[in-house]
Symmetry: C2
């Protein structure tokens, strides 16, 4: 790797940037996970999943996937594309999936660790619309995409670029993945996510990352690229997703295997069944990756969400989803797989009280569950249809609080401060002790947006709510954005690849 | 007890009331508590607390309290009012405090259970101002007090009347406790809280509750009245609080013993020291109650909160407070004492995203901590200076979600629904299965305020945020309020007592 790229995350000029004080860290869970399932209950869910895979089967709508399963000894029905997978075969394949791995960034200071107690925050993904105090809700464009990449690069709490931060509607569908990935390479030097949708897209991603790293990334056991694959529930891995799984697994890149389970719609209404079905779908997808290449890095994704029976829309940030988060994480731990959950799932239209009530009902259960990879950790509104600029900043505040929460609290003679408790005595105060003075600017979390003024001062300052304050900070973060170093030759090679592929793919429909 | 009072919570006319679908339940924690402390760390905190009590001491600014300590063998310095308490004496006294007890309501269907895995939601307390979409922030009056009592009575998620829901500024300070308690008796039949501030107030409360229950409540091991006592940190129980502790303990009524620890101000800035000091103060208060009467029902209160070093105001809903919540609960469990925490601590001025971000940073840690008694479970804004009407309803939504979260999820052949997973097969949907149809209206939490409409419908409906929707529901709840049954003779006796005492207390300053 070019030595110019291998330096530490930059600091110059950062002092005025609103998020510059937030350190880059490799976060780890500190408290024990909260278990939702007794060991017996876990085995009931496991058994149900095995019964689904053995007796009902899973559709793999892709010839190569069916070939792979057939060669492995599964029962394959070519006409229905249903594959019945014996638990011995399945569990044997899962043995090859790594429990922990390193996901490299162009800037090695941003390398991340997946699995174990590690915790990664990833921004919003797959959103269609953008909204904000200064932008009326509208479909996303490439300029928005770049803007979000700048936010990601500017915030040490966001550990990966994110996947499909917003749909760039102004880019031809055949070229979107090329333009997105090119932008991610130029505007960030963090670990990169890019869509794993079919072989063409996935292979382009791999080829471009070879150019970036100047090596055959498929030969390394440390991936540099990751993407989310969603089963087409119930019980279906379509050709697009099978292609993505096969291409990324073959290249040894990260697959975040997440059944898109909306209980009551594409799974039974009971959450026990939804989690069992999700488990069957996730394990089948991960097993396919292992069939392609033993050791392919995979993350077990949980997303089981109840449907709102009145509107037919997903009901995000709900107690049933919180239970599913805990239960799914426990299943992943049982199989020794890293676990992906979600942060800001909510259905509100604006960054109001509802948006944070539901967001916290996603985030805290994910923390309790020991999620290793927190997708959609920022920005969601409206069930993920919309990304909201103020909501991004509000969620970053929450992530910063979580980072602080994960710091060990020291308990020793120095922090117990008995000497000062004695000196201050009954009825005194600690404002001016040497103990307080030495720590007053560093001891506590210092809010980015949170307002603690008294009411009069707050009113004189314009009586702004959190969203209004967030809008200003968002703009300031963008103003202070600094592009990462990128070797000119890499930049040119990536651009040349994109130009060539755009000529080749003109008119090819990659999104269906 | 009068048989008219002993009936079940009423249902008539309830169908149209917005909260009527929420059931009264004796909630219990379902998941294991999250521990913040290793056993060694817990012992370090315990040791520090013992050192504080043995070597530094605690001020008890009340002659009777000092007499009690002296008789018990503690080292009492009359001039400084400092009491040094040996750990043997302290722990011996704590042995008498019950781990669990029943707190009776006038309507026995509303009896509550304190300690163990039990969980009680108590509304906001001690607030000065009221605000709402239809009321500009102003000091509270008795009419507000009654309004909040009606909300409490109307909501099955609020298990006690709350303590000092708002200051009734229009009532003479000498009569406030009389008017508040009289209102609570008339507008609710739930377990009652009333201020434990000095002997006069506390004894009036006890006398009035004797009239309500028609018995000498001081002879029962099941209390009917509770109040919060706060130490005047650091290391100080003032005469007002000592008087309250002594009066309630003597009458065998509930004391919620909560040091008001603002770390960096009235305790060292380090949270380890803050929790150790809190522990010393709480245990000393509970021990005083046991000195008065072995077995007096006490709840160990945790409130350790960092101070915002920029504004000097408390920093509520913060990661440091969350850690303190977990650690304090663990200390309480170590001593076998029920634990009180807080729900909606936040510093926002309006019911916006900040208010819920911080509220959830109080509520979820309290749930993780296995709080037994969640004070301020509704309504707070502005660090508790203000109670906001919309925030009450938003918080009730959250409590309803918590109630649902605490329901066991059944995992069995019926809920695993393999038959229906098989029948629907790959790519189908579950909307119309018998399994879904049998459960669609009951399986999931149904939001009171949460909006899940699509964007267009929401916009046509006025593009309301959660606070706007909450305002309407709040008014509807009030409209549907129904007064509980109250025996005429009790009502008259209580009123006569209040009249008599108002004549006697005229001009007496009970609030200082």
């Amino acid at each position: 790797m070019n030595s110019r790229l291998a330096r530490r995350p930059r600091r110059q000029g950062a002092s005025a940037a609103p998020l510059a004080h937030l350190e880059w860290r490799n976060l780890q869970h500190r408290f024990a996970p909260v278990d939702a399932l007794t060991p017996d209950e876990l085995m009931l869910l496991h058994e149900a999943s095995m019964n689904i895979l053995e007796d009902i089967g899973m559709a793999f709508m892709d010839d190569e996937a069916l070939d792979l399963w057939q060669q492995a000894g599964a029962h394959v029905d070519r006409s229905s594309q249903m594959v019945k997978i014996d638990r011995g075969l399945l569990m044997g394949l899962l043995q090859h999936a790594p429990s922990e791995f390193v996901w490299r960034a162009r800037n090695p200071q941003y390398n991340i660790y997946i699995g174990g107690k590690h915790l990664i925050f990833s921004p919003h993904g797959g959103t269609i619309f953008v909204s904000g105090l200064n932008v009326k809700r509208r479909p996303g464009v490439m300029e928005d995409y770049v803007e979000f990449l700048k936010i990601v690069q500017s915030c040490n709490l966001l550990h990966v670029t994110g996947e499909q931060l917003i749909v760039p509607h102004d880019i031809d569908v055949s070229f979107r993945h090329l333009q997105r990935l090119k932008a991610a390479i130029h505007y960030t030097d963090k670990p990169i996510m890019e869509a794993t949708h079919g072989r063409v897209i996935a292979n382009d991603n791999v080829e471009m990352m070879k150019l970036v790293f100047g090596e055959d990334i498929t030969q390394s056991d440390q991936p540099v690229l990751g993407g989310i694959v969603n089963s087409g529930s119930p019980l279906r891995w379509d050709d697009r997703m099978c292609g993505g799984i096969i291409a990324y697994a073959r290249a040894n890149q990260v697959l975040i295997v997440t059944p898109f389970i909306l209980a009551g719609a594409v799974a039974p209404i009971t959450m026990a069944a939804a989690v069992a079905q999700q488990n069957a779908e996730a394990l089948a997808g991960i097993a396919l990756a292992q069939l392609v290449r033993h050791g392919a890095p995979c993350i077990y994704g949980g997303f089981a969400t109840p449907i709102d029976m009145r509107s037919g829309n997903p009901a995000f940030g709900m107690p049933e989803g919180a239970w599913a988060t805990l239960a799914s994480a426990q299943m992943a731990r049982h199989y020794g797989l890293p676990y992906r959950s979600s942060g800001t799932l909510n259905t509100s239209k604006v960054p109001d009280a509802q948006s944070m009530l539901e967001t916290m009902w996603s985030t805290f259960p994910a923390m309790n569950a020991h999620a290793n990879f927190l997708q959609h950790a920022t920005g969601w509104l409206e069930g993920g249809l919309t990304v909201n600029k103020e909501k991004i900043m509000i969620d970053i505040e929450n992530l910063a609080m979580l980072q602080k929460y994960l710091e060990p609290v020291q308990i020793n003679a120095d922090t117990l401060a008995l000497e000062f408790i004695a000196k201050v005595g009954a009825g005194g105060h600690h404002f001016e002790t040497a103990h307080t003075q030495a720590r007053y600017s560093t001891e506590y979390y210092s809010p980015i947006l949170g307002d603690r003024q008294n009411h009069e001062t707050w009113e004189k300052g314009g009586a702004q709510d959190m969203a209004a304050r967030a809008s200003k900070v968002y703009e300031a973060v963008l103003e202070h954005y600094e592009a990462p170093a990128l070797d000119e030759s890499i930049s040119e090679a990536v651009s040349a690849y994109v130009d060539k592929r755009q000529r080749e793919l003109a008119g090819v429909n990659l999104y269906y």
